[in-house]
């Protein structure tokens, strides 16, 4: 690949959170000290909002992926930081005659800094779509959607997770707009070096305990994959079967979940990276025992942080309930801000937003009584 140069990261700003829920979209804005928070909304009341994201390239564009229980999936976009929204003229949809239908757009990702207006959407079932006009119209990335191996990698559209198989974690290398990664539940992590024209699996070293082959080339279940913006050769993933790190150009993931306490385990949905330190990350473990309850182990929610790339982990639960709190935090529902002392935030399936303005050392409930939260993104 050509030499890559990392662009500077945007200066810190006041924190605002976009909260996508099963019943609409809310925003939570802070004062400069992140002590006082104001909730606004709802917008799209009654819509299932799977993801809402602000464009880091212009600080005014926002996209929201929505549907309802009966109406088909669409994307709304705002050019004024969420004050007004307009529906996409051509939402993500598979080719007529392909036999495939988009159940919902699940993951939104802004494109490369050098390509303003470019966005990516990952869908359920697994599909990859691209917009070049700020989210107004979307076309399928044929190199993935029509790849001859796609069905082998992903299985059929009826396979996959109970909420529907998903393409998520669309990651763009900040040094090269053509260098992309995606995660699929199920399917695994895949990489493209040519803007999505072709793809190759990147799953060596990752367990797939639900498959007969202990080290298959694909078919894994990454829940959330993150690329570090300042060290783009470093990726982490919170997987169905553990926590992993890779430092490219290596092609084998390192198991960093084995260092988690045995009583908690390495399973969870979300993962958040420190915006400046590639060795610092946070996860939110969940119970994978028995029939996979997928709630906080023992009803005692805790964030776990590593400051050394996953060699060791520290429990961060100060301020969180000590017992009888049976939360799930979904894969898009945990985020970090850009402040000098990073703020970390997560939303629960029970409609609470929790925040820490000291990198996870202490937590405070910022909002209660929202609907089931699907996604939280710093904006």
């Amino acid at each position: 690949m050509a030499a890559r140069k990392t662009p500077p990261v945007a200066a810190p700003k006041r924190t605002s959170l976009l909260i996508a829920t099963r019943k609409g979209l809310w925003a939570l804005g802070s004062d400069a000290a992140r002590r006082s928070w104001k909730l606004t909304g709802p917008q799209f009341l009654g819509h299932i909002v799977h993801h809402a994201v602000a464009d880091p390239r212009d600080d005014r564009t926002m996209l929201a992926a929505a549907r309802t229980g009966h109406l088909g999936p669409t994307i709304f976009r705002s050019r004024d930081r969420g004050r007004t929204w307009k529906e996409a003229s051509q939402p993500p949809a598979f080719e007529a005659g392909s036999g495939r239908t988009v159940d919902h757009s699940f993951w939104l990702a802004a494109g490369h800094a050098s390509e303003p207006g470019v966005w990516y959407a990952g869908t359920s079932p697994q599909g990859l779509f691209r917009s070049t006009d700020g989210g107004a119209s979307w076309t399928g990335v044929k190199g993935f959607n029509e790849h001859p191996q796609r069905k082998t990698w992903c299985g059929g559209d009826q396979d996959g997770t109970p909420d529907g198989p998903k393409l998520h974690s669309v990651l763009v290398d900040p040094r090269d707009p053509k260098h992309l990664y995606i995660g699929m539940s199920s399917g695994g992590v895949f990489e493209s070096s040519d803007g999505g024209a072709d793809w190759a699996p990147l799953n060596k070293g990752v367990k797939a305990l639900f498959q007969p082959d202990p080290d298959p080339p694909f078919g894994h279940d990454p829940h959330c994959v993150r690329l570090h913006p300042r060290a783009p050769d470093r990726l982490y993933q919170q997987n169905h079967c553990g926590i992993y790190r890779i430092d490219r150009p290596a092609d084998r993931w390192t198991d960093i979940g084995a260092a988690m306490p045995k009583s908690v385990g390495p399973i969870g949905f979300p993962m958040v990276l420190h915006p400046r330190d590639p060795d610092t990350l946070w996860v939110f473990p969940m119970d994978d025992s028995d029939v996979w309850p997928r709630i906080s182990p023992g009803g005692k929610p805790a964030v776990y942080r590593s400051v050394n790339g996953g060699k060791t982990w520290q429990r961060q639960a100060t301020g969180l309930p000590k017992a009888q709190a049976w939360w799930t935090v979904k894969r898009q529902a945990m985020t970090a801000d850009q402040a000098p002392t990073v703020g970390v935030y997560f939303g629960t399936t029970s409609g609470e937003i929790w925040g820490s303005r000291d990198e996870g050392r202490s937590w405070k409930c910022l909002v209660r009584n929202l609907p089931h939260i699907y996604a939280v993104e710093a904006a």
Binding site: H70, L71, G97
Partner: protein
Amino acid sequence: MKVLIPGLLRSYTAGADTVVLPAHPTLDAALRDLNARYPGLRFRVVDEQDAIRPHIKMFVDGELARRLDTPLAGSAELMIVGALSGG
């Protein structure tokens, strides 16, 4: 013909609960006309493979229409319904 617009689609029709269309030979033609007037409406009720979405019902003069090639000749009313359930 008269098209009865359910509440869930009235954000497209500026709140109108009834839209009057000229005669069309099929349900598909009527929905395409409706989409030309109210862009985006069709994809919310018909998927990219031209199937009526699972929880959307369309009644032509009171008869459930399951396919887009349902003939509309001589029909007076199309009723679109969203069948939502669950919490």
